[in-house]
């Protein structure tokens, strides 16, 4: 054995010993990268299938629309999507994903962690703003109490409803739960954009009363106000207004309206929101 070959074999054997662990590590990394690439390709494939499904749905819709409607739809698509994305959709995506089993939270723990999230949401949104929403909701009732203990309610759309005291309390509780739920679902948005969250909640609280009460009465849909309100009329409202402001005595259904004005009417029955 020559010196060269002798050294060569020594060097070669040393090289093999040094490289073996490195090679194994390299193979592992390469393997992981290949797996990751496969995973990414698989996910991309799934997304592509989902996008094709959506395209098919869109083609079917286009067949049902006029040419003018199709071009309007295409032109405003991004705006429509932004509209859909506002508030409720974002919250539903999160909710559905949570429901699909993400994270450590299980459904039976919902009450516990949703309460925590409500508190987080409350921290994200200034206290005076949330107080304002609650007050606005209560003022929307815009009612005053009748002698029999029920309230007349006028919505912003000049629709009239009647609610008794017990139902009013129940309604307030449902409304409070609603606001809390909304705050909880909005936690993601609240964390990112406080101003947007404020605007969304403000819009929601200001419009939901009319929607819910009217739908509950007219269509008997399952809403917050369902079963709590009865339809009333502007004449009843006017009668009550006359009684409160001018002391005109309220006549019952079979009696003619009296025009007698009572002096020194006690206004203590007036709802505080009207003072």
């Amino acid at each position: 054995m020559s010196l060269e070959s002798g050294f060569g074999s020594v060097f070669n054997s040393k090289k093999t010993i040094k490289e073996e662990p490195y090679k194994a590590e390299e193979d592992k990394v390469v393997g992981e990268l290949l797996d990751l690439n496969k995973e990414e390709a698989l996910l991309e494939g799934k997304i592509e299938i989902a996008e094709k499904k959506t395209e098919t749905e869109q083609e079917s819709l286009i067949k049902e629309l006029s040419q003018k409607e199709v071009s309007l739809f295409q032109e405003t698509k991004e705006k429509i999507k932004k509209g859909c994305q506002i508030g409720i959709v974002s919250m539903m995506i999160i909710t559905s994903l949570l429901a699909a089993g993400c994270g450590a939270e299980k459904p039976q723990k919902v009450n516990h962690w949703s309460q925590i999230n409500i508190e987080e949401a409350r921290k994200a949104v200034p206290e005076d703003v949330t107080e304002g929403w609650v007050q606005h909701g209560l003022q929307s009732i815009g009612s005053w109490k009748e002698n029999e203990g029920s309230f007349l309610v006028r919505t912003n759309k000049n629709e009239y409803y009647r609610i008794n005291e017990e139902n009013l309390e129940e309604f307030k509780e449902r409304m409070s739960n609603y606001i809390n739920q909304y705050l909880y679902y909005s936690i993601e948005i609240a964390g990112r954009d406080r101003e947007l969250t404020g605007k969304l909640l403000d819009t929601r609280i200001k419009t939901w009363f009319d929607e819910y009460v009217e739908e509950a009465v007219d269509q008997e849909r399952e809403t917050i106000a369902y079963g709590l309100f009865e339809k009333s009329f502007s004449s009843e409202w006017q009668k009550l207004k006359d009684h409160v402001y001018f002391g005109v005595e309220q006549s019952d259904e079979n009696q003619e309206k009296k025009d007698e004005v009572i002096q020194g009417t006690d206004l203590s029955d007036l709802d505080p929101t009207l003072k």
Binding site: L36, E39, E40, L43, K46, I47, I49, A50, E51, T54, E57, Q58, L61, E64, L65, K68, E69, L72, F73, T76, K77, K79, I80, K81, K82, G83, C84, Q85, I86, G87, I88, V89, S90, M92, I93, I94, T95, S96, L97, L98, A99, A100, G101, C102, G103, A104, E188, I189, T203, T207, E211, R221
Partner: protein
């Protein structure tokens, strides 16, 4: 991005790079919103469909949301159903 990190675990993309995660989540959101835009029109009554297309010309996104929310029975439920459908397909 409206989906938080917990969601990555649910849809099995937690091992991917942050950039890739964001890309996938954005694509999923886009699919959900596309489908909702399409199905919302299908859910509108003939009369409301006419009003909706009138509104589209000048409306802001918030007006579109308010209109759909008011005129589609359980619009929120529809959004939820589509989101669940897309996520479920993705998880399969």
């Amino acid at each position: 991005m409206i989906i938080n990190k917990k969601i990555f675990l649910a849809i099995g993309i937690e091992n991917l790079s942050a950039k890739k995660q964001e890309e996938i989540v954005n694509k999923l959101e886009n699919i959900i919103l596309d489908r909702l835009s399409i199905r919302a029109i299908k859910k509108l009554s003939l009369e409301n469909k006419g009003k909706y297309f009138q509104l589209l010309k000048s409306a802001k996104p918030i007006d579109i949301y308010n209109f759909l929310s008011k005129n589609i029975s359980n619009f929120e439920g529809l959004a939820q159903q589509i989101a669940e459908e897309v996520v479920s397909d993705f998880k399969e």
